[in-house]
């Protein structure tokens, strides 16, 4: 078997630059909930102790023998709410759910139509801090401060564990796309009605949120020292909306975000759930190498490769269902197909479609990682 000739970081950045690395980089999206499932730690414990999250994540990482860059996971759900990453109500295991059911977002119509103007005027962060957080959360200013402190302690612990293993986080800066934030906080049907019947306030809010997001992330990404910004969007694609809505409410803001970050050398990693097949040609308008599309298996990644070959890196896309109910040999076979067909000329990172599910089988994750780490080297 041939030997690896690159470090993990070199391998990942080679793929991002659309080159052919020594082997495909492997980066499963291992979040706290699957880390709990894979280590037998109750979901209630993972949702109440972010240092337990770090221990569980690295337990999985070590037992599998590691992979290339690692997803940052050092938080509990309420801390994501406090930080505004998930500005929503939540159902927490051990509190609102039984101890073994993973935390879930509870989408309700919490943002009101008149709030669009407030956001346009104040910016979402100020609106969130002064008003919105207290609508969706049972935190108090004191408990919020405590959670943020715990979040920082967990983050430092996570980085320390990375350093011990000489592995790097894939990114540290991340956030939801403004369109996704508004859809989640208004809830999907009211927001869709806003888009169709009262579009101007929505646009004013999106304008302000995009400007603020760019300014904030430019600073933060540079502070982290990792030139990747991860942006999640699950609702703007053609699975839900027509190209006309996409072109008016999502694409211009997105193009501005990517191009501004790229001018500073920052790559935008899009986490795109649902089927984006009809939207893929738009991404060819972005500068070459400026973004990565992380697909969840509902978009045909093989067709996506044909559209974006030599232009943008792709990441994915072993489905949650396969990780949950499939067999290791099925996972290995699909991983090989991805490597052969999507990764043959580089510009590909082997990963899970969306995240590793909370009920994933350990042997399935191992099969994916080991296939990624060995398949091409044994062929060489």
């Amino acid at each position: 078997m041939a030997q690896e000739s690159m470090t993990s970081d070199e391998r990942v950045w080679s793929a991002l630059r659309l080159e052919k690395p020594d082997r495909v980089p492997v980066i499963p999206t291992l979040l706290p909930e699957p880390a709990a499932g894979l280590t037998g730690v109750p979901q209630a414990q993972i949702a109440s102790d972010n240092q337990a999250v770090v221990r569980a994540v690295f337990d999985v990482y070590d037992r599998i023998g590691g992979w290339d860059n690692i997803y940052p996971a050092s938080y509990k759900p309420i801390q994501l709410q406090a930080a505004g990453v998930f500005p929503m109500k939540m159902r927490i295991p051990g509190v609102d759910l039984d101890d073994q059911t993973p935390f879930q977002l509870d989408e309700q119509e919490m943002l009101k139509p008149e709030d669009f103007e407030k956001i346009a005027e104040m910016g979402f962060d100020a609106f969130f801090e002064e008003d919105f957080l207290w609508r969706v959360s049972e935190l108090t200013p004191e408990t919020k401060a405590d959670e943020m402190m715990q979040l920082m302690v967990g983050g430092a612990m996570f980085l320390g564990e990375c350093a011990k293993r000489e592995c790097k986080p894939f990114f540290l800066a991340n956030g939801l796309h403004p369109f996704f934030i508004l859809s989640l906080t208004r809830s999907m049907i009211p927001f869709t009605q806003d888009v169709f019947s009262k579009p101007e306030p929505v646009e004013r809010a999106l304008r302000r949120m995009t400007t603020d997001l760019i300014e904030k992330q430019l600073l933060f990404v540079k502070q982290t020292g990792i030139d990747i910004f991860m942006c999640s969007e699950e609702r703007a694609g053609a699975f839900f909306f027509s190209p006309a809505v996409f072109e008016r409410f999502w694409w211009p803001y997105t193009q501005e975000l990517v191009e501004t970050l790229w001018a500073e050398g920052i790559v935008t990693l899009f986490h795109l759930d649902t089927d984006w097949s009809k939207n893929l040609p738009y991404f060819k308008r972005l500068p070459k190498g400026s973004a990565v599309l992380e697909l969840d298996s509902t978009t045909d990644i093989f067709a996506a490769k044909e559209v974006l070959r030599g232009h943008l890196c792709l990441k994915g896309d072993i489905s949650a269902a396969l990780m949950s109910i499939g067999k290791p040999e099925d996972v290995a076979a699909y991983s090989k197909r991805l490597i052969d067909e999507v990764g043959a000329d580089g510009g590909f990172i082997l990963g899970t479609g969306c995240s590793v599910p909370p009920d994933a089988k350990f042997e399935n994750l191992r099969a994916m990682v080991e296939t990624g780490k060995t398949y091409e080297l044994t062929q060489a």
């Binding site: 869709t192 169709f196 839900f240 909306f241 509902t298 599910p357």
Partner: protein, 210 residues
């Protein structure tokens, strides 16, 4: 030829549609005829979705209009005898998952086609679903899942349906973002789909109304 109500629904004009339904029902027009006009609008929307001109967002908005129209017509409909439903469906998101957006869209579309829909909600225990099936003997059971943590409880429900001898004359449909054909096989479903309109078309066929 399309009625004005149907045209307004296709144009996604919620306020105008509901106002027209309100005025015409208050004026004593046959509520069943008005309901039929609303249904025709929804069928036209469905056809545009099928042709790729409309997207899920248009289905959602028209579904909300239909629900609003139904709420206006309900008191009038109670005074007249409507036709029997074309079939009975039980819908549920099973234990481990609290998401219901896709299920709710399917429920609305099924009601448009005059199915009687029993929506058990989210985080449903397998035994609860089976009890409902025993109680009302539906033609179809529809499961929804957005996350894999509902997989085992959904499978358990389909196992119980077999164990209790309830599966033979029952169609089982499953949908939702995380489901795949393999998951459909895993639970022994008759249909797995990510597309609400495909699911509704299957239900129509299952009750001989296609």
């Amino acid at each position: 030829m399309s009625s004005r109500i149907a045209e307004l629904i296709v144009s996604l004009e919620q306020e105008q549609t509901l106002e027209l339904v309100r005025v015409r029902s208050a004026a004593g027009e046959d509520p069943l005829a008005l309901l039929e006009e609303c249904r025709q609008g929804m069928l036209d929307v469905g056809q545009l979705f099928h042709e790729g001109e409309f997207y899920l967002s248009e289905l959602m908005i028209s579904g909300e209009i239909f629900k609003g129209a139904m709420a206006i017509l309900e008191p009038y409909l109670e005074q007249v005898r409507g036709g029997d439903p074309i079939g009975v469906v039980v819908l549920a998101t099973m234990r481990g998952d609290i998401h219901d957006l896709g299920k709710n869209i399917v429920a609305t579309l099924l009601r448009v086609h005059n199915f009687e829909v029993h929506d058990l909600g989210v985080n449903v225990e397998p035994e609860t679903l089976v009890e409902k099936v025993k109680e009302i003997s539906p033609d179809i059971v529809g499961f929804s899942a957005l996350i894999t943590t509902a997989f085992e409880s959904t499978r358990r429900a389909t196992e119980l349906l077999v164990e209790e001898g309830l599966r033979e004359n029952l169609k089982v449909v499953v949908g939702g973002g995380v489901t795949t054909p393999e998951f459909g096989e895993y639970i022994g479903a008759d249909l797995q789909t990510l597309d609400a309109s495909t699911g509704v078309a299957y239900c129509l066929e299952a009750v001989g109304a296609a």
